[in-house]
């Protein structure tokens, strides 16, 4: 349309299409701004925790709180080590001259403390990793197989069984800790990593079965049937055809089970004392020894947050991607 300018019909601006586009752009921007604001609000405590974990003891309790500070690893080192108070009279300066000192020794010596060994927290963290790791693997594995059975085979009393499995989640854990405590003491499972793994596995299993069943139901049976007539056994069909397609579901289930087992507090505080104690119930106990070490507490929380964040981040593609992206049209 190359109409000369003067002859062009008058534009009715109220109905112009580009105006609509402008508006939708505006709403999109508004949404983005809103998202940023919400993210900001949500992340402030996390940021605060991260900042505190990097503060020196003095900065951590400073009033008004310091936003800009000199970062220090005091919190983390304090959390992971046992120290001895050393005064000048006891030869603090001499110890400082020792050429074998590592950087973390120096940091603590500047505070007048000498590192004498690992703290108990290191052992607790190891317990946490073992308990959460093994129980997650077990509950995902059992969940996968039971969900497959529920999804593909005629299971007698299927509905009742599934309900029963789900019902184990209906009581808040804290309600059942006392009976389980008595039970575990009788069975000799009190304060054992094994006992905790069993408990977490069972507790996560309900979740794992239900979640995995949803994912497996989404995979059309025809895939396995095709594999069966193509000359494979049911087990081969499961591993070659079903398993690769459950990856998304497995990833999601793994993350959720891991988060639960890693964060669990109530059972851990009741059913463990020393040997099998995990990290969550031990962080507050830092409170007690030698005044409130905010930097150490924040460091504990940070260190605790990082593994779950890493796993979630690593599996984020699977978590977001749709379940079936296959060749079966429905």
């Amino acid at each position: 349309m190359n109409t000369p300018k003067s002859k062009r019909p008058e534009v009715n601006y109220a109905t112009r299409v580009d105006k609509v586009t402008f508006k939708s752009k505006l709403t999109r921007n508004l949404k983005a701004i809103l998202t940023v604001i919400i993210a900001f609000i949500v992340l402030i405590p996390v940021f605060w925790m991260a900042a505190t974990s990097l503060k020196s003891r003095a900065d951590a309790v400073a009033a008004p709180p310091k936003v800009i500070f000199e970062p220090s690893m005091e919190g983390f080192i304090g959390l992971l080590t046992q120290r001895r108070q050393v005064t000048a009279a006891q030869g603090l300066e001499e110890i400082k001259q020792d050429p074998n000192l590592k950087w973390y020794d120096r940091v603590m010596l500047n505070r007048g403390q000498q590192i004498v060994g690992k703290s108990e927290y290191v052992g607790y963290l190891k317990n946490s990793a073992i308990t959460a790791g093994i129980s997650t693997i077990l509950s995902v594995l059992f969940g996968l197989f039971s969900a497959y059975a529920f999804s593909r085979f005629k299971v007698a009393g299927k509905g009742d069984l599934l309900f029963f499995i789900l019902s184990t989640r209906m009581l808040p854990p804290i309600v059942v800790t006392i009976p389980i405590f008595l039970l575990y003491r009788q069975l000799g499972l009190y304060d054992t990593t094994f006992g905790l793994i069993i408990l977490y596995t069972v507790f996560n299993l309900s979740f794992s079965v239900w979640l995995m069943q949803g994912f497996i139901d989404e995979i059309p049976r025809e895939y396995e049937e095709a594999a069966l007539v193509d000359g494979y056994s049911r087990l081969q069909a499961f591993f070659k055809i079903v398993l690769p397609q459950t990856i998304t579901g497995l990833a999601a289930t793994t993350v959720f089970c891991l988060i639960f087992a890693w964060n669990e507090y109530a059972f851990a505080v009741m059913l463990t004392a020393q040997k099998a104690r995990t990290a969550p119930p031990s962080i507050p106990s830092v409170l007690g020894t030698g005044g409130i070490e905010w930097a150490q507490i924040a460091a504990g929380a940070m260190g605790f947050l990082i593994p779950v964040a890493i796993v979630t981040f690593a599996l984020r593609n699977y978590l977001l991607r749709g379940v079936t992206f296959g060749a079966v049209r429905r």
Binding site: L228, V229, D230, G326
Partner: protein, 361 residues
């Protein structure tokens, strides 16, 4: 290649029959179509032959060997699914090679066979892609390639064209038929589309309500249906079925027209019905021959131009409609009265209470 035999095969889901006792022998190299409306048990039958569904009773023989309880993988048959069931996480090449890998075929042999079959089906350019991104027709070709690649004893196909667009379906129909002619492999093909069944089958097994209604060549089921269901189901439109009054060698149609059947039929009707009985007269739309003399008369109420011919919907009376094909050269107006005769070769009779066809004595 293989023969397939079903002996008294039954499938029950709870108390309900999915397939009533079924007997059928499929010859080596034959293309048999299981035809019927949805839910008639045709897919269940196919699944029982494949071993994906267990029989409730009866026996299935493959090449004379009882395979009733053999695992699907042990039967050496290929199954083409309605929705293709291509493995989404594997490439087209791996999909096609998958059945060969089960047999631990050597790598270079697999490579050659995959190449051969992908040349045959013209999907060579797709081998590196994943099935998810292919068109319906290409997915269908890949599914066929996966079935063909290991030279199975028999092919089972469950509505393989059901998910395709109408115009493309005809192309694929011809391709599958051509493949069958070239390979001469025993094939059992399930469809609910009677045109597809007529076009492809050496024999058609018409099923309804879990039981076999008729087994015969396309011509047999078209011209000599064994009962009212088959007569109505086969052909588009189906056979005209008119309840008539028979007395003294004459049929009185609704609307009062009188038709005198051929002598052979008169004897049969006298014999099998006795006197003074109702009978269902059946004739195909193309059996009618419009003529000047008043044999059967009816009023035109719809004219369907089909290109090569014209399909007329005629009112015998207010409740009875028959449809006839006429020459495209003649124009009829709505409400015109038409007189027509029937080709005596194409007239059939059915018992209205048993619904079975009468056989001329």
């Amino acid at each position: 290649m293989a023969t397939i035999e079903l002996r008294d095969v039954v499938k029950k889901f709870g108390d309900k029959y999915a397939v009533k006792p079924m007997n059928m022998t499929i010859q080596d190299g034959e293309f048999v179509v299981l035809l019927g409306p949805s839910g008639c048990g045709k897919t269940t039958t196919l699944r029982m032959i494949s071993g994906l569904e267990a029989v409730s009773s009866g026996n299935i023989f493959l090449n004379g060997k009882d395979v009733t309880w053999a695992h699907p993988s042990a039967r050496d048959i290929a199954y083409v699914f309605q929705f293709y069931a291509l493995y989404p996480h594997l490439t087209v090449r791996d999909n096609i090679a998958f059945p060969l890998q089960a047999q631990a075929v050597k790598r270079d042999v697999i490579e050659r066979r995959v190449k051969d079959v992908s040349n045959l089906l013209k999907i060579k350019h797709l081998l590196k892609r994943r099935p998810g991104g292919l068109s319906g027709g290409d997915q269908q070709r890949v599914a066929l390639a996966r079935a063909l690649v290991r030279h199975p004893a028999a092919f089972l196909m469950d509505e393989p064209l059901g998910a395709l667009d109408a115009d493309f379906r005809e192309t694929m129909r011809a391709e599958i038929k051509a493949l069958h002619v070239a390979q001469k492999a025993t094939t059992v093909y399930v469809t609910h589309d009677q045109i597809e069944a007529m076009a492809m089958g050496d024999r058609i097994v018409v099923m309804s309500n879990a039981s076999v209604q008729q087994i015969g060549t396309p011509a047999e089921v078209y011209h000599s249906p064994t009962n009212l269901f088959v007569a109505n189901f086969i052909g588009s439109p189906g056979m005209n079925l008119v309840k008539c009054h028979y007395q003294g060698g004459k049929l009185t149609l609704p609307g009062g027209s009188v038709y005198v059947p051929a002598e052979g039929w008169q004897k049969t009707l006298d014999h099998q019905l006795g006197d003074n009985q109702t009978v269902v007269l059946g004739f195909r739309p193309e059996a009618a021959r419009v003529s000047g003399e008043p044999k059967i008369s009816a009023d035109v109420f719809l004219v369907e131009m089909n290109g090569s011919n014209v399909l007329l919907d005629l009112h015998l009376d207010d409740d009875n409609i028959v449809r006839i094909r006429t020459n495209r050269g003649v124009n009829y107006g709505l409400g015109d009265t038409i007189n027509f005769d029937l080709d005596p070769q194409m007239v059939r009779f059915f018992n209205p209470s048993t619904e079975a066809a009468l056989v001329m004595e």
